[in-house]
Symmetry: C2
Subunit: 146 residues, 2 copies
């Protein structure tokens, strides 16, 4: 779990991944959207490539030199759930006065979506009935709830 | 979203919240479970109280002085989704050789649970069909997918 923090525990890295999930891939897109200093942007992009979150691909526009664009790997795409969880928490417990900075929607029709806990049979479990329990092969046992 | 990082973007703060979600509430429980230096533990507990994630309650055991225990507020309980999302990502993309450090289960029967995206009508939406879109009142429109 701490490894997730190593990757997106820094503000700019988190915002770059969020922008990539929104469809940004070019250096100029990240720079304009985030207003991040260029040296920090370059360092964070390189580090997200090293962590296996982004992959670099060359592209060339007519009359320009070759440039690199940045695309989410499968592990990077997987961060959609983590980022959606953070957005959902902020909307509920610390909403910005200007409204949410990002929303989580069905790409096909724009329906707003929530993260919910589900059992393998598809049954949805209320958050109050969810436990974070020690793993590592130890047997699970019900515990008294505070 | 960045505010979530301000709160749990530091390793020990994240692990304290995880332990609180597992049922820890006393200073000694956090210290033993995490092996965290006492000055850091005290500072992180105070800061989680300041952020409204934990609340402090006095307790006294027979023959001991009064001590404080730390309990998740509603906003703290809400972090269960964020932490579950991180655990799920790690299990899938960066599994520890020793097995998962924590598992997400139904507190009533121990069934392992997953986070899924759901529409208000309860329909589950596949992660590939989920978009993180700019919020803030802008109209949503379908976009070309990479």
């Amino acid at each position: 779990m701490v490894r997730t923090l190593d990757i997106i525990g820094e503000k700019w890295a988190l915002l770059i991944v969020r922008d990539a999930l929104r469809g940004s891939s070019r250096y100029s897109e990240f720079r304009e959207s985030l207003g991040v200093p260029t040296d920090i942007l370059s360092a964070r992009l390189a580090s997200l490539v090293d962590s296996g979150i982004l992959e670099k691909r060359p592209y060339r526009e007519a009359g320009s030199r070759e440039r690199a664009s940045y695309h989410l790997t499968e592990a990077g795409q997987g961060l959609r759930v983590v980022i959606a969880a953070m957005l959902q928490w902020n909307d509920r417990f610390d909403p910005a006065a200007s409204g949410p900075g990002s929303v989580v929607v069905d790409a096909r029709d724009g329906t707003h979506l929530d993260l919910v806990f589900a059992a393998p049979d598809g049954r949805v479990v209320a958050v109050d009935d969810v436990d974070i329990a020690p793993g590592g092969g130890g047997a699970w046992a019900p515990r008294a709830r505070a």
